[in-house]
């Protein structure tokens, strides 16, 4: 009803406009926009802002770890009380660690990743004018924005943000006596997470329904590009897993403020025994990791899709084993819901249960290895063009292998019993879901930037960005495997008092130097990104990279509705990278009808 009213008003106000150049106010066009492309860019820019904060935090705590005896006056200027005299306080160190994890996992690699690419690419690649529900899509971004505001504000309160680690295990996170960050900061964290999950669910419902219902004529599921498949499974996984985190968060709020004992039992803290009896902290861990583990696949699956697409495009070769790729997505999605307790082998959980999870966990290595071998075979006898996105996609495969293989160590409980909660885990997950996911994201940004803004990013800067980031990633995380195997625990503010870990001090300093370098190179990328929006070289051709997919059939800068005429029809799969005898090109777009005598792939 109200929708129609606005439309009428709109028409009355701009009656003289043709329906093609339907003029919109700045606010409805760029701020409260329902256009999936603008919403995608909004998610991307929010993600970038969060990434700067999250990365800066890691620089701060790496400086502490690398140079525990040095004072950095610049930190006092930025952090004030928290870094008196230029040295971080332990309390704030833990707050930084917690916020770094929360920001990067949820706000950057979940919202920034799926929010950007699912929103931007799904309608363009399946051939739809917009999302199934553009309004819900807008709501999804603005609830994410609200969540961001709440989380951001927690950095500025006097007791500091949450500091119980990104997993916020109770009782540490439930009792304000336990640590400074478990005061108001923790409440804000929990509220922000509830809002965040609502936003993810709204987005996820939209992604799934758009992919299932709004494909253009001829776009069978078997003709979808792998990007879309990855977004579909990511969204499904999010819809299944995120609600469970809401339950954990709400129960934790009850424990904090309403005197319930879901997670608390027999606790003596700050000089008094608490009345709580009968709860179990292990229950929280089950609820958390039921989301927490699928979450890492939510983070990395879009990157897998993007990398598959980009490797195929720049090798000028079809992706190898398209159906195996889709089936392995199914495998990863279903298995990832069944492996959560491998984070809890030493939590006091029944060892028998542990052995079941060992089995399920190591099974997930199988679909991952299928994917890896398929990427390798796609490169084999290709014609590889080393564009920036291609380099990032190759880098993605490299770090995914390195990080994935150590998963086989950690998933085996007999090894995990020593390696759990050490730097080995840090190295493992940063490579396999941190760096890998970021590489996929970078590849996607460089590749689709021309479609987003009608301009190119600066390539030379892109190459600098790739090579420095790639080298830094390994320089930072490779040595951590060694200290982790020696038992160096994660989340330590200072190792100087520990005879066992003191020999690793030089290594820690080495890592910290590379962290600082990596940070500045990411700033250079962000600079390149924003400057190129306004000053980049303009795109002059419709399909500059010779791709088969539908987004390159739209105008250079597609308007609201994406295609000016009717939506194109699809006649073939998305990986027809072969010589077309009629056009002489080395690819056949999805919109070209099958030639006489040609069999569909």
């Amino acid at each position: 009803m109200s929708n129609e009213a606005t439309l009428v008003l709109d028409n009355a106000a701009h009656g003289d406009h043709g329906h093609h150049e339907h003029k919109q106010h700045f606010i409805t066009k760029y701020i409260f926009s329902t256009d999936h492309k603008i919403i995608g860019k909004q998610f991307l820019i929010m993600g970038i802002l969060w990434a700067i904060i999250g990365a800066l935090f890691s620089v701060f705590f790496r400086l502490q770890l690398g140079f525990p005896d040095t004072k950095f006056p610049i930190m006092e200027q930025l952090l004030g009380e928290w870094a008196k005299g230029g040295k971080l306080s332990p309390d704030f160190y833990y707050a930084l660690v917690t916020m770094h994890g929360t920001i990067l996992v949820f706000f950057v690699l979940t919202a920034g990743m799926s929010g950007t690419f699912s929103n931007f690419l799904i309608p363009l690649q399946v051939g739809a004018r917009d999302m199934a529900s553009p309004f819900m899509n807008m709501l999804s971004f603005w609830i994410f924005f609200a969540s961001s505001v709440v989380m951001f504000s927690s950095i500025f309160i006097s007791t500091g943000p949450a500091s119980g680690g990104w997993t916020v295990y109770p009782p540490l996170s439930a009792l304000k006596e336990a640590t400074l960050g478990s005061g108001l900061g923790m409440d804000l964290w929990l509220i922000a997470m509830i809002l965040f999950i609502i936003s993810q669910i709204l987005g996820g419902l939209n992604y799934v329904s758009t992919i299932l219902n709004m494909r253009t004529n001829g776009m069978k599921m078997s003709r979808l590009p792998l990007t879309i498949w990855s977004f579909l499974f990511t969204a499904i996984l999010g819809l299944l897993a995120f609600p469970v985190l809401v339950s954990a968060v709400v129960l934790l709020l009850f424990d904090r403020h309403m005197g319930t004992s879901f997670f608390l039992s027999e606790i003596y803290i700050a000089g008094k025994a608490l009345p709580n009896m009968g709860g179990s902290p292990v229950l929280y861990q089950h609820l958390f990791w039921f989301l927490g583990h699928p979450e890492v696949y939510i983070v990395v699956m879009p990157s897998m899709g993007i990398a598959s697409e980009i490797i195929s495009i720049y090798s000028r070769k079809p992706i190898f084993g398209y159906s195996a790729m889709v089936i392995s997505f199914v495998g990863i999605t279903s298995l990832s819901l069944l492996v959560w307790a491998h984070h809890m082998f030493v939590s006091g959980m029944s060892p028998f249960l542990g052995s079941v999870f060992v089995l399920l966990t190591l099974m997930i290595a199988i679909p991952s290895s299928i994917k890896t071998f398929n990427w390798l075979t796609t490169l084999w006898r290709g014609s590889i063009h080393f564009s920036v996105p291609m380099l990032f996609a190759i880098g993605f495969v490299s770090v995914f292998i390195s990080g994935g293989l150590t998963g086989i160590w950690l998933g085996n409980s007999a090894l995990d019993i020593h390696q759990h909660d050490t730097y080995f885990v840090i190295a493992h997950f940063h490579l396999v879901m941190g760096v890998a996911a970021f590489f996929g994201m970078f590849a996607g940004i460089y590749h689709w930037f021309p479609k987003m803004f009608g301009r190119y990013m600066n390539n030379v800067l892109g190459y600098i960005h790739f090579f420095v980031t790639f080298i830094c990633s390994y320089a930072i995380f490779w040595p951590m495997h060694y200290s982790g195997l020696a038992g160096m625990p994660r989340r330590y503010y200072d190792f100087t008092a520990w005879a066992t870990f003191a020999p690793y001090q030089k290594m820690n300093a080495f890592i910290s130097i590379f962290v600082v370098i990596a940070f500045f190179v990411q700033l250079l990328f962000i600079f390149n990104f924003f400057v190129s929006i306004f000053r980049g070289r303009k795109v002059t051709s419709l399909n500059p990279y010779g791709c088969t997919t539908l987004e390159w059939t739209t105008p250079i800068v597609p308007g609201h509705g994406n295609w000016e005429g009717p939506i194109p029809e699809v006649h073939r799969w998305a990986y027809e990278y072969r010589e077309d005898t009629e056009t002489g090109l080395d690819y056949v777009p999805q919109t070209v009808p099958l030639r006489p005598g040609e069999d569909e792939h």
Partner: protein, 352 residues
């Protein structure tokens, strides 16, 4: 102020870099065609990527050369030795896969760089290959799982009957150790009885078994070489973790739940001091579950000694009750003992 200047400087540097790279790009454009990567650059990039790979492999070697010597000394327990065996097998398997796949990745990238006149091969699927790289990893994983689970069942199974029992209780930010004393039975505890002055573990003084319990408040655990020791693990406040890196073991300390872990130490502290050529060697226990701002300083130690040494040491320790007798009787006597025992059956930690 200096911060502002610094940021301004950074932005200035970025602008300069951007302008230079822009110029480079335009020169390339004027020289060649408008393709994404021109021929010459593609070749250069292929070389750079390949050199980065070779340099990376050298880095792997160099890292190993520098960091392997400061790895932990040999495992000091039977379970640790078993861990090292499975670790070695896993390193061999995953290491082989690592070198093969990374080499293929970078070799293919280099070998199949775009060259004029060379057409890519249209090769979309091969079910035989898919089957091979599904089954081979599956079988390899099954073998690793088999070894892993066998060892897991062993180490988490029931401890041998002759195992010594020691209770370890985590609190912010240290470990408290309890021995059962002469009677060999741990006295009942109730967290409501806890107070830091004279009852750190909340022992129930109405239980006679608690009167001879020995409590070590500085987190120093004494155990005997070659005799299995079972740690009975609890926490007073938040989750902690009893981590024994030299024995390759760890277990969470969870409030309200009793967990346990057992291990058979095989090398005494003194022997280890000789092995490592470090006279000050100590087996450290780092807490390895984030427990608050002092987490990084939550440290315990293990002293592994011979049976004789242990017996001498334990004989010198006074029961906690005897140490705090005046305090406890002075305070506890006037107050009727009834409140402390009201729900002791429900809340007593099940320690036998």
């Amino acid at each position: 102020m200096s911060l502002l200047l610094l940021s301004a400087l950074l932005i200035l540097i970025f602008i300069v870099i951007y302008q230079i790279t822009r110029a480079v790009e335009y020169v390339n454009l004027i020289r060649g065609d408008e393709v994404e990567v021109n021929k010459k650059n593609n070749k250069i990039l292929a070389w750079i990527l390949f050199i980065v790979f070779i340099a990376g492999m050298y880095g792997v070697y160099e890292t190993h050369r520098l960091l392997a010597p400061i790895y932990l000394p040999q495992a000091a327990s039977i379970q640790g030795v078993q861990y090292e065996k499975i670790l070695l097998a896993t390193i061999i398997v995953t290491g082989t896969v690592f070198f093969i796949t990374q080499t293929l990745l970078f070799w293919f990238s280099f070998r199949y760089q775009a060259i004029d006149g060379k057409k890519p091969l249209f090769y979309a699927h091969n079910n035989k290959l898919e089957v091979i790289w599904t089954t081979v990893p599956a079988i390899t994983l099954m073998i690793l799982i088999g070894f892993g689970l066998k060892s897991w069942v062993n180490m988490t199974g029931k401890p041998p009957a002759d195992a010594m029992k020691v209770q370890v209780v985590g609190k912010q930010f240290n470990f408290i150790i309890r021995y059962a004393g002469k009677d060999g039975v741990f006295g009942k505890t109730n967290f409501r009885n806890i107070n830091d002055a004279n009852n750190v573990l909340g022992l129930d003084w109405n239980d006679p078994a608690s009167k001879d319990d020995i409590i070590i408040e500085n987190g120093e655990v004494h155990v005997i070489k070659d005799i299995p020791v079972q740690f009975i693990i609890n926490s007073r406040d938040v989750i902690h973790n009893l981590f024994l890196p030299h024995f390759r073991m760890k277990m969470d300390a969870v409030p309200g739940i009793t967990t346990s872990l057992w291990v058979t130490p095989t090398i005494t502290t003194k022997e280890m001091a000789k092995i490592t050529e470090n006279p000050d060697f100590v087996y450290e226990i780092p807490c390895s579950e984030l427990c608050g701002s002092g987490h990084y300083s939550m440290r315990g130690t293990v002293v592994v000694e011979t049976k004789g040494e242990f017996n001498r040491w334990i004989a010198q320790q006074k029961p906690y009750y005897a140490l705090h007798k005046d305090d406890i009787e002075g305070k506890a006597a006037p107050v009727a003992p009834a409140p402390t025992t009201t729900d002791s059956t429900a809340s007593t930690i099940a320690v036998k």
